[in-house]
Symmetry: C2
Subunit: 197 residues, 2 copies
């Protein structure tokens, strides 16, 4: 492609990133080489830093730089509410909405018969434990309104029934819609109008 | 966004890449953190290597790791043909075609009244010099068929008139192309350049 092995390897790796393909990867690498000091070097440095420090919170699955994340160690957020999300991008989307003051639990995906994802492949056992251990009074299921998201919500509701108030995000989340695509106002409206299951 | 400064900075920098936005940048960074050993660390390493070694060929503007690139130092490619392209991505596209055996000259853009890009902002003076210095017999203008590309081709043709044979890529229907997907200009150019079977 180029005549250089490192440049070609960089293009190959970039092409594996979600949403990029070979053509965007080539354009991006040329862009980075042209912006060496302003973009390429800072990007390489930050990637190295993040690779050295980023880790999953052992309690909730959020991404941070400590074994237990900032939200899990913040006592002000121990308000008895636990918001269950599919992945960290959804947690960040909820945080941008600035409406939720409790803690999170990141499942790490959804149940899926097709992809053979069962409860033990997600953080569902840990969720059940946390409800007891942290004296949770309300679990808010903020899962995507997809078939797998709804299946997962039903499964979790079965597991927790009788132990805790179960709610889910209300109107505002479109059918088939994914949280991370929504504007901040929609997320906050849906949270405030949440309903008991 | 996340609660970590380095992760946030990495997302901000990624969001500046062409074709990515804040949302893709967040997803990409989470993807990279999840694929730390297989993607994040190799990507950071390769970026650092490329930042340390990549440079523009002083002769043609291609990107490589030496002051004069592999194509310019390859004597087999001194066949008297010089292919003029807008940028390095176009040079790579020509190389993938494996049809051109000569050398290249990368302009670094096109003339543009709107963006105030003049001949001295591109490698046009160097192109005129090379035609003399390298004993070039044919200059192939492989510029994009945009208004600025055509303006640039005309300007270069004026500069080189009488010194060298000037050609440009044929316009027509791409191999495997379906008429119904082509713009009208392409169809009419292909019709005007039709050949007897
Ligand atoms: Zn946590
Ligand atoms: Zn060169």
């Amino acid at each position: 492609m180029s005549s250089n092995r490192d440049i070609d390897s960089l293009i190959e790796l970039m092409a594996k990133l979600p949403g990029l393909g070979p053509r965007s990867a080539r354009r991006t690498v040329l862009h980075l080489i042209a912006k060496r000091d302003l973009q390429l070097i800072p990007l390489a440095d930050l990637m190295q830093k993040v690779a050295a420090t980023a880790r999953e919170c052992l309690n909730c699955g959020n991404v941070g730089t400590t074994d237990i994340c900032d939200i899990c160690t913040d006592e002000k957020r121990a308000n008895g509410q636990l918001c269950v999300v599919e992945d960290v991008a959804d947690l960040w989307a909820m945080e941008r909405g600035q409406a939720f003051k409790g803690r999170y639990h990141v499942l790490g995906g959804t149940l899926s018969a097709l992809d053979q994802v069962g409860p033990e492949d997600l953080r569902i056992p840990q969720l059940v434990n946390r409800v007891e251990a942290e004296g949770i009074s309300e679990v808010i299921l903020a899962l995507n309104a997809t078939v797998d998201g709804l299946t997962t919500a039903h499964y979790i509701a079965d597991q927790l029934e009788g132990r805790v108030t179960l709610t889910s995000l209300a109107q505002g989340v479109p059918i088939g819609g994914e949280l991370d695509y929504l504007d901040d106002g929609t997320i906050s409206a849906a949270l405030n109008a949440r309903k008991t299951l």
